[in-house]
């Protein structure tokens, strides 16, 4: 029981420490922490519009976090979520534009196409790592840049006629929801949020209840024993990157079919992929953790936009707070050590 408590304590304490540190920075730079954090809270949950925006912002974070967490559990570092997300975005929008189909086919098709694109983008580094022992960090970084330039090229020269953005996807492939918009005062919240929760459940089920999950986690913990046990380490590495990429690709589909409804030229990375790393870490690489961490990140990001308006604090403070939270999670050894000493004092 105490072990479970500690596992939960680390992320929670890290968040608290991060917020405290943020407050200190605000004080030092001449701002009012109370006003700053109140503005942050109001900006995230203050009314139904903001709450809708927070949930909408959370959606791709869930997918990015699931992608990174899934790969981490198998012992792989998927730093390529940015690229996998971009290709998923592109392909899902393309399918959303190219076909005339009833919604019940068109929408799932577009999402699956996004998943497949992301899966393919993840397959390449997975294959290279499994067969040729090439470092997945460097391949995925390269694939990120390749994805950026390739998707921009496709948008400008293949899908549209030289313009900087595609047309909006057909209604039959859209995730936008009148219902959700109406209850959140016309925020951009869309049906993707349901998919995010379902995806988290799928990841949990896959890892904890299937033979595949048994293998993937074993390979992540001990490749030698997995080989001894008869598992195919290569196959599992590749499969892990493919599934991880698929999650990221669906995240991109969320942006294309839900948040924006189209795709446009990107001058740089959206940052969702890198934030996904933070979400996965904060969530302890578990499905439920990722969902909660994504909610936190969504709230921080959306809420931070209100901070300069309501309290004069630059919204970049939130980036600092996020960074410090990650630091504290990384230094969890220190936190657990401190907790242990605290408990000893109580026992005495």
């Amino acid at each position: 029981m105490s072990k479970n408590w500690t596992v939960l304590a680390v992320p929670v304490i890290s968040v608290l420490l991060g917020l405290v540190a943020g407050a200190i920075i605000m004080l030092v730079s001449g701002n009012n922490p109370v006003a700053g954090y109140t503005a942050l809270w109001n900006g995230a949950f203050g009314d139904s519009f903001y709450t809708g925006e927070t949930l909408r912002q959370m959606t791709p974070y869930v997918f990015a976090g699931l992608a990174v967490a899934f790969a981490f559990r198998t012992g792989l570092f998927n730093i390529g979520v940015e690229g996998q997300l971009l290709v998923g975005w592109l392909v899902s929008v393309w399918v959303g534009l190219a076909f005339e189909l009833p919604t019940i086919i068109h929408l799932p098709l577009a999402i699956l196409a996004g998943a497949a694109a992301g899966a393919f983008w993840g397959f390449i580094p997975g294959f290279l790592k499994a067969r040729l022992h090439v470092h997945e960090v460097i391949v995925t970084i390269m694939m990120n840049y390749t994805a950026l330039h390739v998707t921009n090229y496709f948008i400008r020269d293949v899908i549209s006629d030289g313009s900087d953005a595609t047309d909006p996807v057909k209604e039959t492939a859209s995730l936008q929801s009148e219902f959700l918009q109406s209850i959140t005062d016309f925020s951009s919240l869309h049906n993707g949020i349901y998919l995010a929760i379902i995806a988290a459940a799928i990841m949990w089920f896959m890892l904890e209840k299937t033979t595949l999950g048994y293998e993937l986690r074993a390979v992540g913990y001990n490749q030698h024993a997995s080989e001894y046990a008869g598992m195919s380490v290569n196959r599992n590495i590749i499969l892990s990157m493919v599934i991880s990429g698929a999650f990221a690709g669906v995240g991109g589909a969320m942006q294309g079919l839900g948040t924006f409804g189209n795709m446009f030229i990107n001058s740089g990375f959206s940052g969702i992929g890198f934030d996904g790393i933070a979400v996965a870490l904060l969530g302890g690489n578990t499905a439920i953790g990722v969902v909660l961490a994504a909610l936190l990140f969504g709230a921080l990001k959306v809420g931070s936009l209100n901070m300069p308006i309501e309290s004069g604090v630059p919204n970049e403070l939130v980036e600092i707070v996020i960074a410090l939270i990650i630091f504290f999670v990384a230094s969890s050894y220190m936190i657990t050590w401190l907790l242990g000493r605290f408990k000893k004092k109580e026992a005495k």
Binding site: K209, T210, T211, L212, G213, Y214, R217, A218, Y221, N222, H224, A225, S226, E227, Y228, A229, G230, M231, S232
Partner: protein, 305 residues
């Protein structure tokens, strides 16, 4: 006993008592450590070997650096006997075991099990053909330390019924089996869900042996099965190996402890520079003779089989 003046015995976390070295002997100490009398020489009946289970012919295997470690090795292990391989570490034992169990590909020769050619089989196929492997490095190969000890018990069988069906794991069945094995093989653990990492070396090894023996393999390979274990565990493990042999299974034992080899084996095969240079009867040989053979000197009276 050679270096110390006094000995303090600890059992299950408690100090049992201290004795002066001159006032005690190995048997006395061992029984203090374990809590009951311990026999150092294993009691066993005569072996009744039958047909060949394992036949290794002209096997060649390279090590991780590409250097030939096994050079044209021949070996037979029959049902109902224990063959002990003794040799100085680095003479090809590890590569021999790895090639039989599918962890390393041989460069030449054949391995057959019960007449079926299993050379080049992947580890899973080797296991399914009826081979059990207690690995030399229990932390590297034998267990996933960060898994509960319970799920480790199905490491090679998780994909079969009843532990899983259509890709979905049935952890209830897994833990049921684990619980049975843990009791039967005296694995001391707070529960089946305790992480394997938390168990002592001896209990980890007992768990591995339980897992391998429970599958009732025709050939059981035991590589350094008692390395780093206490006398009680050693005795337990030896008894199990002999039990397998008495049930008509073939056992291949690899060990660097000459005591163990001489005690447990029915036949001893000496490996030197990648070949079996001699096969001797433990009752008719001495440690000195084995030592000489292990160092490469040939027997005066020619080979004996």
């Amino acid at each position: 006993m050679e270096v110390c003046d006094r000995v303090t015995v600890i059992r299950k976390g408690k100090g049992i008592g201290s004795v002066n070295v001159p006032d005690t002997n190995p048997n006395h100490l061992a029984s203090l450590m374990v809590g009951r009398d311990v026999t150092f020489t294993t009691q066993k009946n005569e072996a009744v070997p039958a047909q060949n289970v394992l036949e290794v012919r002209d096997l060649s295997v390279n090590d991780s650096r590409g250097v030939q470690a096994v050079r044209g090795l021949n070996l037979d292990v029959r049902a109902g006997e224990i063959v002990g391989i003794c040799g100085v570490d680095g003479n090809g034992q590890t590569e021999l075991i790895e090639s039989i169990t599918g962890l390393r590909k041989a460069t030449g020769g054949t391995i057959s099990l019960n007449g079926k050619n299993i050379s080049g089989f992947k580890p899973r196929k080797v296991t399914e053909s009826g081979v059990g492997h207690i690995p030399q490095d229990r932390h590297k190969h034998g267990l996933v330390l960060d898994y509960p000890i319970g799920t480790n018990m199905v490491l090679q069988t998780y994909y079969q019924k009843p532990f899983s069906k259509a890709g979905i794991m049935n952890y209830k069945e897994v833990y049921k089996k684990a619980s049975t094995l843990i009791k039967e093989f005296d694995v001391r653990t707070p529960s089946e869900t305790t992480l394997a990492r938390a168990l002592s070396g001896g209990n980890q090894q007992k768990a591995i042996i339980g897992r391998e023996v429970d599958r009732d393999p025709d050939l059981l390979i035991a590589a350094q099965p008692t390395r780093g274990l206490d006398v009680g565990a050693i005795e337990f493990i030896h008894r199990r190996l002999i039990e397998q042999r008495d049930n008509g299974k073939a056992v291949l034992l690899l060990s660097f402890e000459l005591d163990e080899i001489m005690n447990v084996s029915d036949r001893i095969a000496v490996i030197y520079e990648g070949q079996i240079v001699a096969v001797v009867n433990p009752k008719e040989t001495t440690e000195q003779e084995l030592g000489l053979l292990m160092a490469g000197s040939t027997k005066g009276a020619g080979d004996r089989v």
